[in-house]
């Protein structure tokens, strides 16, 4: 297997000793089938044990190795070094505060995720003896794509609206709200609507579409938000009609 020597420039920041973030270069002999995460692991194991970054599964399931590679939000485990030049720049996800090196503080996202009630709210609780909630393949298809989200936050890093206004609920949380709204077993749309249909919710989105471009799981959060805009706009208008609920 051939190797290529690649310079990896990593944005470093250790709050206890660095005034501000700076780039540190490492020379890494990369196998041709390596991903950027492999190169980071090589640095950590062989060159510099002080480097901090998150990762777990190495197979784009866990969503923890989100980084910015040459300016584009990527999963470290899905960015193949063969697709890049001899110098690769690695930075933490944008739009989040840096905790340390490539590790960012994601508390803001967790709060927003919780605010949209991202779980099934069934009409009535069934006991296990009552059996499963059955769904047709068509009912499954209505939400399946939106359930593939791994909370990697590449979409928040790519979203210019979130960058401009951090109060924006953001792509993944809104896509997940849509995922449950579209689920035939769920009746929780009203409970989510106060956050989803607020100024900070879907209406902050100006349909740039960057979230859907960078999403490694083809969730298409931008599409989810547009669909939600249609139902929420109809809701808003009909709420003024007799019998409409506000």
């Amino acid at each position: 297997m051939s190797t290529r020597t690649i310079t990896i420039e990593v944005l470093r920041y250790r709050p206890e000793q660095d005034q501000e973030p700076f780039f540190q270069s490492y020379t890494v002999p990369c196998d041709e089938d390596w991903v950027v995460l492999d190169a980071l692991n090589y640095i950590k194991d062989e060159l510099d044990r002080t480097l901090s970054y998150r990762w777990s599964c190495h197979m784009f399931v866990c969503g923890s190795c989100g980084i910015v590679v040459d300016g584009e939000p990527k999963l470290g485990c899905k960015a193949f070094v063969k697709d890049y030049g001899d110098k690769i720049r690695v930075e933490p996800l944008g739009n989040f505060p840096i905790e340390r090196d490539l590790v960012v503080v994601i508390d803001d996202f967790i709060e927003k995720l919780e605010s949209v009630n991202p779980y099934l709210i069934p009409k009535e609780e069934k006991s296990i003896d009552d059996g499963e909630y059955l769904q047709t393949p068509a009912q499954l298809k209505a939400f399946k794509q939106y359930s593939m989200c791994i909370n990697c936050l590449l979409c928040y890093s790519a979203c210019p609206q979130y960058g401009l206004d951090p109060s924006f609920v953001g792509p993944a949380a809104l896509a997940l709200a849509h995922r449950y709204n579209m689920d035939s077993r769920d009746v929780g749309r009203k409970a989510r609507e106060d956050v989803v249909a607020s100024h900070e919710g879907i209406w902050e989105c100006s349909f740039v579409g960057a979230c859907s471009q960078v999403c490694p799981k083809d969730v298409d959060p931008a599409g989810a938000i547009q669909q939600t805009k249609i139902t929420s706009a109809i809701d808003y208008v009909t709420s003024f009609l007799p019998g409409g609920n506000r």
Partner: protein, 114 residues
């Protein structure tokens, strides 16, 4: 959080987007370029057009097209201002929707005077 009234301009924006994308280019081609270069000069003569626009159904259709296009443009400008980081959203909304409202009134007056 309160539900946002942006739903209303967005509906006009979405409807207007369709009109702007599909119909406006054709309108510009016919009334702008064809009329300018004398293509179909008979059909596009002042008298024929005046009779055409004098029809109530045509008036209503033209109003629909122009109204939606104006509100689409207004909302688009509001979003563009937002994208440029102008945070005075209420002020921007008043200005752009105000212009669309003025344009709407002008459209009504123009159509009624034919």
């Amino acid at each position: 959080m309160a539900r946002s009234s942006k739903a209303i301009p967005w509906l006009l924006f979405a409807g207007g987007g369709t009109v702007t994308a599909f119909i406006l280019p054709v309108m510009i081609l016919i009334t702008g370029l064809f009329a300018l270069f004398g293509v179909f000069s008979g059909a596009l003569s002042y008298e024929t057009m005046q009779a055409f626009v004098g029809n109530w159904l045509i008036k209503i259709i033209l109003f629909g097209i122009l109204f939606l296009t104006l509100w689409h443009a207004a909302h688009r400008l509001r979003v563009v201002a937002h994208d440029f980081g102008i945070r005075a959203d209420t002020g921007v909304a008043i200005v752009v929707y105000g212009l669309a409202a003025v344009g709407t009134v002008a459209t009504v007056i123009a159509l009624l005077s034919v």
